[in-house]
């Protein structure tokens, strides 16, 4: 059933190519705007680039996370889903996996654009930034997928989703950004791991209750 749900997600996602273009364009614009904002500094420190990539992922990711239930919003699809016994966890995991892949694409694209615009030596720093970014991405996707369930039917969900889940990912953001520059990144990576394990587990545990409404 999980594979069928995943197939459905990707079949519908791939049909909306303009969403990919919009997400990539949005990410480029965020990076450009941050660059203009940082121009007040005479010398741009290279250390700002990984946090810029993370912020772009958070902002671009929010747009994607808000779309999590686009395919189920009409024609009471969710009502039908609820009738299938034992679907909750598989349904949540299919949504999470789709968001993970979409966020990963945004991350790849943002890293490419930021490297280009900031003239960032990516290869030399790759080992320092990959693990924090990936762990941050998992935490972002897990909380975002759960919270998008709460606001899925709300006409103000564009405002509601970031309002609800940005405070929750504040420690995640602190940990990701600190792990880029800290002398002891392992401490921060452990926090990121703890965050991911706690929130993925908690999301799986509460999702069937959320699906019941």
């Amino acid at each position: 059933m999980f594979i069928a749900l995943l197939k459905k997600e990707w079949l519908l996602t791939l049909r909306q190519k303009q969403v990919f273009y919009s997400l990539f364009l949005f990410s480029t614009l965020v990076i450009m705007l941050i660059y203009f904002g940082l121009e007040v500094l005479d010398v741009l420190p290279k250390g700002v680039v990984p946090p810029v990539i993370w912020l772009t992922l958070v902002f671009g990711g929010t747009l994607q996370l808000n779309r999590t239930y686009d395919f189920e919003r009409d024609e009471d699809v969710l009502e039908g889903m609820r009738l299938i016994p034992g679907i909750a966890t598989k349904f949540y995991l299919s949504k999470l996996l789709t968001n993970l892949v979409m966020l990963f694409l945004i991350l790849l694209f943002s890293t490419f654009i930021a490297t280009l615009l900031f003239d960032y030596p990516l290869m030399a720093n790759l080992s320092n930034i990959v693990i924090p970014l990936i762990l941050g991405l998992i935490g972002l996707a897990a909380t975002g997928t759960t919270f998008s369930t709460m606001v899925k039917a709300h006409h103000k969900r564009d405002i509601l989703l970031p309002t609800l889940f940005y405070p929750l990912i504040a420690p995640l953001s602190v940990a990701v950004i600190k792990s880029f520059s800290s002398a002891e990144p392992l401490v921060w990576i452990k926090i990121l791991l703890a965050f991911d394990v706690i929130y993925v587990t908690a999301s799986v545990l509460v999702f069937d209750k959320m699906l019941e409404g």
């Binding site: 606001v151 309002t163 929750l168 926090i191 706690i198 908690a202 209750k209 409404g213």
Partner: protein
């Protein structure tokens, strides 16, 4: 009827007594507790600041546990408990956030500093602010209860992570009222008195809020 009347009168007498206790507490803070040598009058904020922080933390956790109870049983009494504890916890969280800068301005010279506990409290305050936004945004009452319970649980799970992350980020908070030995007897007495008063007041607020939720 007679029992209801007596209970109502007793409750009113108790509330008047609590109001008197608060007045005595404020008097003790202002005139009985000695002035701290380096911080001056600003230190007196801590007699309410610290107990408020304790109420905030305990009440959010109790609210989170009640939310777990609601998700498992779907019984309204757990939701009433959760909203009551979280609302009162949020009120005391706001008191902590307001009194912190009031102390920081004369002592550190700035209204706001990214000091660990102040920052953690701000994060927690923002998480639970979302709880009320979510609850009031959803028209379906059943959904509002379920989703806000999930948010409360996630918020409570976030508290230790916030505390740890911010502590590592900003360093260790100066311990002002951390042990009996650091305080003169008069200060210790007023601190314990304030703690009892703040907890009684918070308990009354939770009781009244839960009663209001129960009776619609």
């Amino acid at each position: 009827m007679v029992r209801w009347f007596i209970r109502n009168i007793m409750k009113k007498i108790f509330y008047i007594l609590v109001a008197a206790l608060i007045t005595v507490n404020l008097y003790l803070i202002a005139f009985y507790a000695p002035l701290e040598l380096t911080q001056g009058a600003a230190q007196k904020i801590f007699y309410w600041h610290v107990p408020s922080a304790m109420v905030m933390m305990i009440f959010f956790i109790v609210g989170g546990i009640a939310s777990v109870g609601y998700l498992i049983t779907k019984k309204d009494k757990f939701d009433a408990l959760a909203i009551s504890f979280i609302e009162v916890g949020f009120l005391f969280c706001t008191i902590v956030l307001l009194t912190g800068p009031l102390w920081a301005k004369p002592v550190w010279g700035v209204w706001w500093t990214w000091e660990p506990r102040l920052t953690s409290t701000l994060f927690v305050w923002l998480v639970f602010f979302g709880y009320f936004i979510l609850r009031s945004s959803l028209d379906d009452k059943g959904q509002a209860k379920t989703y806000s319970s999930v948010l409360a649980i996630f918020g409570c799970l976030d508290i230790p992570i916030i505390m740890l992350a911010v502590k590592l980020w900003r360093g260790v908070h100066p311990q002002v009222l951390n042990s009996r030995e650091n305080l003169p007897d008069k200060m210790w007495f007023v601190f314990i008195f304030s703690m009892i008063v703040v907890f009684i007041l918070a308990g009354i607020l939770v009781y009244e809020r839960a009663r209001k939720v129960k009776h619609g």
